[in-house]
């Protein structure tokens, strides 16, 4: 607005008007008056030259710092839908980012678990509904219905155990030494990982249990044994080597299932008495875990 003011007929197009250096300086320091501020701001949106000139008034150090932080924030992954849902439920953001390091929450792991369960469940269904012919050694021709479920009952809680084991075994965490040397509570880290691995694996297992040709209460009946198994493994890890603990827990489940399958009564492992036993094991393990939680703060060196 160096020459003509806008008259009553409309503004004069000032296509080559540019804000002078003084004007911009006044604007940047906040000492310009309203008319100047308005005209500068309205002009800025369409003029790259004045924008660059105005940029000179910004603190270069500050701009560089913001640039660095921006590029880091852009480099961090944003998280999928599940994460967004959990965030809205109130789970703190940093706990969710810790989960990114858990191998048993990655798609590849869950897909392989689902794959194994699909094979086992599929085989059970196939035998049950007669797709696999019974041209087998004599003993198997008298195939009782429930024995068909034995492989599934063996495998499903073991897969859940495997998922939880991957959360606490140091061999699955390449940066385990950093986790030990860090102030973040080892118990919290372990529980966050174990619980989320447990939940993720249980979802897959329960879904598979619905598909398997068994009694309707099978999906629910698998929950307590899986929980008990994982709790036992964690508690045992405070007493012995973590690998040994995981293997012991696995064996502790596999042996009864195999024995019962040989006796043609595999479902006993998930029926009433066994459920009570699992509950007892779960409570005992939880107690041991609570009492010996300091062990998770020190590296696995003894």
């Amino acid at each position: 607005m160096t020459s003509s003011t806008p008259g009553p007929t409309g503004p004069v197009a000032g296509a080559d008007w540019h804000a002078s250096a003084d004007v911009l300086a006044g604007y940047a320091t906040g000492t310009a008056d309203a008319a100047v501020v308005w005209s500068v701001e309205a002009h800025l949106t369409s003029c790259g030259r004045c924008r660059s000139a105005l940029s000179e008034h910004a603190d270069a150090e500050r701009l560089a710092r913001n640039r660095r932080v921006l590029l880091v924030r852009a480099a961090l992954p944003e998280g999928g839908r599940v994460r967004g849902l959990l965030c809205r439920c109130g789970v703190p953001d940093h706990l969710l980012r810790l989960l990114a390091a858990t191998p048993s929450l990655r798609k590849s792991w869950l897909l392989s678990v689902a794959g194994v369960l699909a094979v086992v469940a599929g085989e059970a269904a196939a035998v049950r509904y007669g797709r696999i012919p019974a041209h087998r050694p004599a003993g198997l021709s008298a195939y009782q219905d429930t024995v068909v479920l034995a492989p599934f009952l063996l495998v499903a809680p073991l897969l859940v155990l495997a998922g939880v084991a991957a959360a606490f075994l140091p061999m699955f965490d390449p940066a385990s030494q950093l986790a030990v040397a860090a102030p973040f509570s080892g118990v919290t880290l372990l529980l966050v990982r174990a619980v989320s691995a447990l939940a993720a694996a249980l979802v897959v297992v329960v879904a598979a249990a619905v598909v398997v040709p068994g009694p309707g209460w099978l999906p629910v009946a698998l929950l307590l044994p899986s929980l008990a198994l994982c709790a036992f493994a964690l508690a045992a890890a405070t007493l012995m080597e973590p690998h040994a603990a995981a293997v012991t827990a696995g064996a502790l489940w596999a042996l009864p299932v195999l024995l019962l399958a040989a006796a043609h009564l595999p479902l006993l492992i998930v029926q009433r008495n066994a459920q009570l036993a699992c509950a007892a094991v779960f409570c005992a393990s939880a107690l041991v875990l609570l009492l010996r939680r300091d062990r998770f703060d020190m590296g696995w060196t003894r």
Partner: protein, 289 residues
């Protein structure tokens, strides 16, 4: 509890640790002050064990450690020590699917920086310090060994620790990168206690005002590099032929033989010893015992 990081230091008294039949550490006494201390010794001398004990990752069989006046045997004080600690282990594995920024973000959470924005600022700060800014989005599996080492150093710097423990930080770095590493260490704000281990004597000579030599689980020397060099004064000589009386001989780049021994022959051409010579002399003496 308050930590007095201004005047207190790191002390270790009578540390011992064995793995099965081998004695990794044997009655080690150590005091670390502000500034850089170098831990020199061959592989298997117990450097990694000692550093992992100082980093509260391992427990000693016997002896006491005091870090800034805190005792790692006490659980609460252990967590407090870890709040002031930055640790680069010797064999640091990485979650290979992580990006550089993602990994540093993860370690920052482990260091209890819970606020998202502060974490981003911290990560940006350490990335700038090790010059890895352009690689923030690269996956770790795509990084070369030297870049991974720089990433390891970066994660140790997160949170501006008062005690920095670096186990073989210069392994896998080429000479130019080692130079930048030295500059980086000298520019750290806050004047932390830094202890780094290496088996290369020229790193020690270049960076560390204090040297501790660890051989077979025992401290054989503690002092400045020039003192270590001085132990070899008058015991290093060069000749055209190999001398059988020397403890150690090798052919140098100029095709002459260099000897280190207790009794140089009369009229031998004495050469100025280096830190490495002092170290080799010590290690030979320890081996002979």
């Amino acid at each position: 509890m308050t930590v007095n990081v201004r005047t207190a230091a790191v002390r270790a008294d009578g540390l011992s640790r064995r793995y099965g039949a081998t004695r990794a550490l044997d009655e080690v006494d150590l005091t670390l002050d502000r500034g850089i201390t170098g831990l020199l010794g061959p592989n298997g001398a117990g450097k990694t064990t000692l550093l992992s004990i100082l980093a509260t990752v391992n427990e000693p069989d016997a002896g006491r450690v005091s870090v800034f006046g805190l005792d790692p045997r006490n659980a609460g004080e252990r967590v407090e020590i870890r709040r002031h600690l930055g640790y680069l282990p010797q064999e640091l594995g990485y979650h290979r699917h992580f990006t550089v920024a993602g990994f540093l973000d993860y370690v920052a959470i482990l260091k209890e920086i819970t606020d998202r924005r502060r974490r981003a600022e911290e990560v940006a700060r350490v990335l700038a310090a090790v010059s890895l800014e352009r690689r923030a989005r690269t996956r770790i599996r795509a990084l070369s060994g030297g870049l991974r080492q720089r990433l390891g150093i970066a994660q140790a710097l997160l949170g501006q620790p008062d005690l920095l423990i670096l186990d073989e930080p210069t392994a896998g770095l080429d000479p130019e990168q080692r130079l930048r590493f030295r500059e980086l260490l000298s520019e750290l704000p806050g004047d932390p206690v830094i202890v780094l281990s290496t088996h290369q004597a020229d790193d020690i000579a270049a960076i560390c005002p204090t040297v501790v030599v660890l051989l077979q689980g025992r401290v054989r020397f503690g002092g400045t590099p020039s003192e270590l060099t001085a132990t070899a004064a008058g015991r290093v000589w060069a000749a055209a032929e190999r001398d059988a009386r020397a403890h150690l001989s090798w052919r140098g780049g100029d095709n002459r033989w260099r000897h280190i021994g207790d009794h140089p022959p009369p009229g031998a051409e004495l050469v100025t010893p280096t830190v490495e010579d002092g170290y080799l002399l010590l290690s030979h003496a320890a081996g002979a015992r």
